[in-house]
């Protein structure tokens, strides 16, 4: 790997009372500018790994470094303000307007209001929402896709280098999901972000990410590019990688040959 790692997971371990080992001895380097998808079933530990990254929860073993710095020594609130966060279904604050939602992290950082307003407009342009039409709306007045565009704008507001996304597009219809994924990937490249995106959809991961980390029962089973994963001999990875092709074959049988673009 030519690029220097921005995020390093070194033998990271997290146990929940029960006891349940949620993340088990995970070591992983993520390069600056990389788009990493984390794939796994429910209970695989992928969300826990993400929450450990911005210290929403504390780890039990190992270290996580960002830019070479052990995050264990950082103030959690300050750390979170430096990292963009996109949540499932957007998780917009329903009592705040679009502008207030997007501007929240700059506001928490003490940015003056007259600097936040133009930044919000800039971000709405970036996520392709009409600034005049959407700025003053409440989240309830938006469609699912628009809400998640606002969610992305909110995550980018304080100009983070890293963005954590937890199944950001999971609840959207296929067309919106495809468009949003594509648009976000373009933003990622344009802004030079480093993105960790959780998804349970291997197809989405293959289409958007540079590399894919496969997790199962807390362990990192495999990590690599699409080609590297396709060559993996791990049964779970093989099974996972064969799913898109199997589905494509079944679709081909169902759909008439002609008319395909």
């Amino acid at each position: 790997m030519p690029r220097t790692p921005l995020i390093t997971y070194d033998r990271v371990r997290k146990t929940f009372p029960g006891p349940v080992v949620a993340v088990d001895d995970v070591s992983l380097d993520i390069a600056e500018g990389e788009f990493l998808a984390i794939v796994g079933g429910s209970g695989s530990g992928k969300t826990t790994l993400l929450r450990l990254t911005n210290r929403l929860i504390a780890l039990d073993g190992g270290t996580i470094r960002i830019g070479g710095e052990d995050i264990g020594g950082l103030e959690p609130v300050a750390l979170r303000r430096r990292i963009g966060n996109v949540f499932q279904n957007g998780a917009l604050f329903p009592h705040m307007t679009v502008a207030a939602n997007v501007g929240i992290t700059p506001r928490l950082l003490g940015t003056p209001a007259n600097e936040i307003a133009p930044r919000v407009d800039e971000l709405l342009d970036l996520v392709q929402l009409d600034r005049k039409a959407y700025r003053d709306r409440l989240p309830d007045e938006l469609s699912g896709g628009q809400r998640q565009r606002v969610g992305v704008a909110r995550a980018l507001a304080a100009k983070p280098r890293i963005v954590l996304m937890d199944e950001p597009f999971g609840a959207l219809d296929p067309l919106t999901r495809d468009a949003l994924g594509h648009d976000y990937r373009a933003l990622h490249d344009k802004l030079g972000l480093t993105t960790l995106m959780i998804t349970h959809d291997i197809t989405e991961a293959l289409l958007l990410a540079d590399r894919i980390a496969v997790m199962r029962t807390g362990r990192l089973v495999e990590v690599g590019t699409a080609a590297e994963l396709a060559a993996s001999r791990e049964p779970y990875v093989t099974e996972l990688m064969s799913t898109p092709r199997r589905q494509a074959a079944r679709l081909a049988a169902l759909l008439p040959e002609s008319g395909a673009a």
Partner: protein, 518 residues
């Protein structure tokens, strides 16, 4: 006759500023105190299940205590605290009226505020709290910027419930000496003045509605970030409280406070005392509807200046004497007891208002009953009614044991309804009051007590210790001593139980004075 031209309506209206103002002050103070206590408690308890359950459990238990009892319990509690505070810190405070009412009502307001704050905060989507932390909020910022705004409708619903409860329950603070709209209701119930009762109820309901709507306005303003709405609602409540303070700030508060217990005769006598003081150029106001146990302590502590009590009542209930003494001996002994408390017994009014067993004259004659001794043979088939305290008073135990009375049933009633109940045969016997005018009205007969099981109940005029050297007061009241005989008091009480313009305590007091001044 239209309601508005009814003189009783005009009389009710004349007290409105005082009663409504006091009611509002005590309610808002209680609500504010309740909020200040329960809101932080709710924040503290919401993530601590055992503390939460303990608090909600305690608040629920408080809620099951009837409002009247809760208010009444705070009085002796504060009396004890006041005594301790005086002994330990040299600080004295009044355990009468405002303070116990505010504390009891504040306690009463806690349950809805606690429960709704906890429920509202716990009902906020966990995903949003995670998002609040994720975008970089501290715990405190997450609480104030996300959790509280989202829980606001539920929290405000709790505050509104508390406001309505407190304003409604504040009507019950009259017996512990806090003037409120309950003064209308208690006075109206005692003197069968239904206009007063309805007036008090409607006024309390309107006040509750008004405050509820103002809180709704504030809530709506907070939710829609409309400063105008929040400001208007808050300013109106502040203005109402301010207006309620004006009369007391004007400083013309009366010099003497005359107490009255919760029955007709007491209302008349307190009106008579006030009237005599005013005639002597002294200003006086009355605190009516005080509970029997509250009124004596209030006098002893100087919260009220004068009232009329009854020798036997003080003897048995206040000083807990068991032995039976003849009239003069009891008065002499009582005087010594009172002197220990430095309470001044100015003198007897001349009549006795004793408990007595009373039944319809015709029935008594048919059965050949003249005394309680005769009655004892028939009681197994009879039911008896008494006022709310009679059956728990030592007099009843003494009477029962002396004559071996065993009734088929015992019932407790509003005193003014007992006489009608015994006249109509609803019950066979009542424990009535000898000075009650209704005895003559319903053609009832008072049964003799040959064993003197019931002590004498001379009406005596008591003054508070701080009035021991007040010649003006004592001179103004001395003309009342020994002048009111039983027949005159019965007539006065009968007049006061009517329901026309001539039956207000003030009108009857004037009539009474005209009779005894001759």
């Amino acid at each position: 006759m239209s309601l508005l031209s009814d003189p009783r309506f005009a009389e009710a209206l004349s007290h409105l500023a005082d009663y409504l103002g006091s009611h509002l002050r005590v309610s808002i103070a209680a609500l504010a105190l309740g909020l200040v206590i329960s809101f932080p408690l709710a924040l503290l308890a919401r993530n601590r299940p055992s503390l939460r359950n303990l608090l909600l459990g305690l608040a629920s238990v408080v809620q099951t205590v009837p409002g009247l009892a809760l208010l009444a319990l705070f009085y002796p509690l504060l009396l004890a605290l006041a005594a301790l505070s005086l002994r330990w810190f040299g600080l004295s405070f009044s355990a009468f009226g405002f303070l116990p009412a505010v504390l009891a009502l504040a306690l009463y307001s806690m349950l809805p505020v606690l429960r709704n704050t906890i429920t509202g905060l716990n009902g906020v989507d966990a995903g949003l709290i995670e998002a609040a932390k994720g975008v970089g909020m501290t715990e405190r910022q997450a609480l104030t910027m996300v959790e509280l705004p989202l829980a606001l409708p539920v929290i405000m619903a709790g505050i509104r419930t508390a406001a309505v409860w407190v304003i409604g329950t504040a009507t019950l603070s009259t017996p512990i000496g806090q003037t409120s709209l309950g003064n209308y209701i208690f006075a109206g119930l005692q003197t069968q003045n239904w206009v007063l009762v309805v007036f008090g109820c409607v006024a309390a309901a309107l006040l509750a509605l008004a405050v509820d709507q103002l809180l709704a306005l504030i809530e709506h303003g907070l939710r829609t970030r409309s400063r105008a709405r929040v400001g208007l609602g808050t300013a109106t409540i502040a203005l109402m409280v301010g207006a309620s303070l004006l009369p007391s700030l004007a400083g013309t508060s009366a010099r003497y406070v005359i107490g009255a217990k919760t029955f007709t005769e007491q209302y008349v006598l307190s009106a008579l005392i006030s009237e005599r003081l005013q005639a002597a150029g002294l200003s006086a106001t009355s605190r009516a509807g005080l509970g029997s146990s509250v009124i004596y302590e209030a006098l002893r502590n100087g919260d009220i200046d004068a009232y009329v009590d009854y020798s036997g009542t003080l003897w048995a209930n206040q000083f807990h004497h068991q032995e039976q003494l003849p009239r003069e001996a009891l008065l002499a002994a009582l005087k010594q007891d009172l002197a220990k408390d430095k309470v001044i017994l100015l003198g007897e009014l001349g009549f006795e208002n004793a408990y007595a067993l009373v039944m319809p004259r015709k029935k008594a004659e048919a059965l050949g009953i003249r005394s309680i001794e005769d009655l004892a043979r028939h009681t197994a088939q009879m039911s008896i009614a008494g006022d709310y305290e009679f059956f728990s008073r030592p007099e009843w135990a003494a009477l029962r044991d002396a004559y071996g009375l065993t009734f088929r049933a015992q019932r407790q009633m509003q005193p003014d309804f007992m006489y009608a109940a015994v006249a109509s045969g609803e019950v066979e016997i009542i424990a009535g009051y000898t000075s009650d005018g209704l005895i003559a009205k319903y053609d009832l007969v008072v049964l003799d007590d040959p064993k003197h099981a019931i002590p004498p109940y001379d009406a005596i005029l008591l003054l508070s210790p701080k009035r021991s050297d007040d010649r003006a007061l004592q001179d103004a009241l001395r003309p009342l001593l020994g002048r009111i005989d039983i027949a005159t008091m019965q007539q006065a009480n009968l007049r006061a139980s009517g329901s026309d313009a001539e039956s207000s305590p003030q009108a009857v007091a004037r009539w009474l004075w005209s009779k005894i001044a001759k």
